[in-house]
């Protein structure tokens, strides 16, 4: 076990170092901050327009979008992690050494989480600046949301790793990720949009679409990492401790299941370049 842990640590360090010195991580953090800046700007405009705004945790909404960006980075990074090494043939070489499937996958997984934490650190510094300058202020819910976001990132990362284990080419991995994530995210937004409409104002076709979407979502609720993200943000917004803990446990189970699936898929598909 300790031997495996040494292997995980050394691969993880190498990967984390590479991520730290590459621009991708900082671009993702910048996008997250930029998206948040638009929301902060909306707040300022709202207060300016109405002269008043009443809100419980104004930082939670921008944080939600920042977490989506950071978690998507983790998903993209993990989805290419295995396929890139397979494509280059380096994964096969790695396995000539004292490395097994579990060590590689855990190392990649932890490296993604470290990258995610770096992004969230930069985002938090930015949020602190924005909160102080605007006088929006920090609340304790921000801390809860940040803690929960790590579990959400682990869902996204494990999902990305599993997709990566299915393919042997970077292009296919990214394409698969875009299609799957885009589809899941699209359904989520569609449902959120439909939920804002009053049933009596819906046309029959819209009611029909709503039924289809909610039935599909009922099925994929357990598969989509975004549903854990939405539920998590809801738990923080509602201040529901039970929902918060439930979400954390759900995210851990999801991550363990997908990482296990990734190990078996990698064993089944093999580590050689096809």
């Amino acid at each position: 076990m300790s031997y495996r842990w040494t292997v995980i640590k050394s691969i993880m360090k190498r990967e984390a170092r590479s991520s730290f010195f590459s621009l991708g991580l900082y671009i993702a953090a910048t996008i997250a901050c930029l998206v948040s800046a638009f929301i902060f700007n909306t707040y300022i405009n709202t207060v300016e327009g109405n002269n008043i705004m009443v809100m419980a945790s104004p930082l939670n909404t921008p944080l939600f979008y920042a977490v989506i960006v950071a978690a998507l980075y983790a998903a993209i990074s993990s989805s290419t992690a295995l396929s890139r090494e397979k494509d280059r043939g380096t994964l096969e070489v790695l396995f000539y050494g004292p490395v097994d499937h579990l060590s590689v996958i855990l190392a990649k997984f932890f490296e993604d989480i470290i990258s995610f934490l770096i992004i969230m650190l930069l985002v938090t510094i930015y949020f602190a600046y924005a909160a102080i300058t605007t006088n929006l202020g920090f609340s304790i819910t921000y801390l809860y949301a940040i803690i929960l976001s790590i579990f959400i990132a682990s869902c996204m990362s494990s999902f990305g790793l599993w997709l990566s284990s299915l393919t042997a080419r970077i292009r296919t991995s990214i394409l698969l990720l875009i299609v799957v994530m885009g589809g899941l995210l699209g359904l989520q937004f569609l449902q959120n949009y439909i939920l804002t409409l009053k049933p009596e104002n819906l046309s029959l076709s819209m009611v029909y679409i709503m039924g289809i979407v909610s039935n599909i979502l009922r099925v994929i609720k357990w598969v989509s990492p975004f549903s854990y993200l939405t539920d998590g943000i809801n738990a923080v917004a509602l201040g529901s401790v039970s929902m918060y803990i439930e979400n954390m446990i759900g995210a851990i189970i999801y991550t363990v299941v997908l990482l296990t699936a990734t190990v078996y898929t990698l064993k089944w598909k093999g580590v050689r370049k096809l």
């Binding site: 700007n41 008043i52 929006l136 202020g137 039924g211 099925v219």
Partner: protein, 428 residues
């Protein structure tokens, strides 16, 4: 690959068909035994009904609620996606006794009693009260007497008015004829209708329950349980009490905001004036409270909502800046004065009773002029000088007027990344 495609297509068809089945399954108009209630919702009595599709009744604990068991025609109305009762088609009282069980033990058996609703400020005035038994009869009698008295007064008024018309005619005729006319006749004052209203006496089961989960059922004359009347019953109470605020910004006085929870922060654009109207509020479970008045409406059991009750009186608001008291404010009447001329605009002014004793206030509230900087905490102080629990709200002026710096700062991570990247490249 082909097999996977076939399976995917089959799943898709199944999902679409299952949705279609769900929407085409309209319930026909059917005879059902339903519970029709008048439940206290904290402010007034709501009148929900429970068709057979809904097996849990929600009521507020420790308040008397009215339960009726009816046979009616129930149909599904697809436009609002809810079950409706055709009371005009069928409205038959059924059952003799209601039993309430806690687990398997019967904790209450109730017979129908006379009841009325008393509306002290008229039907739409609020403050509805429920009276049962002899008190119901007394209230009804009181109302009937008041109405009879009013009609007698109306009759007397018409007679007096007729007499008055004749006297006026005579008065002018005497003037025209140069005779002494005497005093000008006094017009009789019209009578005032009763301001309160009492419903007709009806019969129903009226009882209150302590908080808890129960089973309710109705029995007929033969002590047999009427099919379809066994339902779960949840009697719930509020979790917390507090003070909620309606906040009227000076710049948009007709668009008040609400701050119901202590976690909510009131943001004010730089300096400005806010008018606070405090209300007593109770916090309920969202699902329970929504189901209380509309059993078919959705709600979340993990969410809590504040419900405004009555405006609070004999209180003052205290503003803190840090730990020190910044100011204490009292409730005052205000009126809105339109700016003279064609230009739009208004001023909110204090209604001074000495200067303007007959003036009408547009609203009364606690005025607080928010300074341009700093953080403030507002609390409500009761008549004893104690802070009322859950009455605190933070007030923060937004200090930024230009968001450019926020956008520029968002590029910070990219700059850090570039610096690290360049250092790394140079280091190699």
């Amino acid at each position: 690959m082909r097999k996977t495609c076939c399976i995917s297509a089959l799943i898709l068809i199944f999902v679409i068909l299952s949705s279609a089945i769900g929407f085409s399954a309209e319930t026909p108009k059917s005879k059902e035994v339903v519970y029709s209630l008048n439940v206290w919702d904290g402010k007034d009595y709501a009148a929900p009904f429970y068709p057979s599709a809904y097996d849990t009744i929600y009521v507020m604990a420790d308040y008397e609620n009215v339960y009726s068991v009816k046979e009616t025609l129930v149909y599904y109305w697809p436009l609002t996606r809810e079950y409706m009762a055709d009371w005009d088609g069928l409205n038959k009282d059924v059952g003799e006794t209601i039993e309430v069980l806690k687990g398997n033990e019967i904790i209450g058996t109730y017979k129908k009693v006379d009841y009325v609703f008393y509306y002290p400020k008229g039907y739409w005035g609020g403050g509805t009260q429920l009276f049962t038994g002899d008190k119901a009869k007394e209230k009804k009698k009181e109302y009937d007497q008041a109405v009879n008295k009013y009609w007698k007064e109306v009759e007397a008024y018409y007679q007096a008015y007729e007499k008055y018309n004749k006297e006026v005619e005579e008065f002018y005729q005497n003037i025209q004829e140069g005779k002494p006319a005497g005093k000008i006749p006094q017009e009789p004052a019209p009578p005032t209708a009763p301001t309160f209203y009492v419903t007709d006496i009806s019969k129903a089961y009226v009882f209150s329950l302590p908080p808890g989960q129960y089973t309710i059922r109705t029995k007929d004359k033969n002590e047999e349980i009427i099919p379809g009347t066994v339902k779960n019953l949840i009697a719930f109470s509020h979790r917390r009490e507090g003070i909620g605020y309606n906040i009227i910004p000076e710049s948009k006085w007709t668009y008040p905001e609400v701050a119901d929870d202590s976690s909510e922060i009131v943001y004010q654009y730089r300096e400005g004036t806010l008018y606070f109207q405090p209300y007593k509020e109770w916090e309920f479970n969202e699902l329970y409270y929504n189901k209380l008045s509309k059993p078919q409406s959705p709600g979340r059991s993990d969410r809590w909502i504040w419900v405004h009750m009555d405006p609070v009186s004999n209180v003052k608001l205290r503003i803190y800046s840090g730990d020190s008291i910044f100011s204490e404010i009292r409730n005052r009447p205000y009126y809105v004065e339109q700016v003279p001329g064609s230009a739009l605009g208004y001023n909110i002014k204090l209604l001074d009773r000495k200067e303007n004793p007959y003036g009408m206030a547009d609203f009364s509230a606690f005025k607080f002029s928010v300074p341009p900087t700093g953080d403030y905490k507002l609390v409500t102080i009761d008549s004893k000088g104690d802070i009322i629990e859950n009455s605190d709200r933070y007030i923060r002026p937004i200090t930024v007027t230009d968001a450019r710096n926020i956008f520029i700062a968002s590029l910070g991570p990219l700059i850090i990344g570039l610096v690290i990247y360049i250092i790394r490249r140079v280091g190699r």
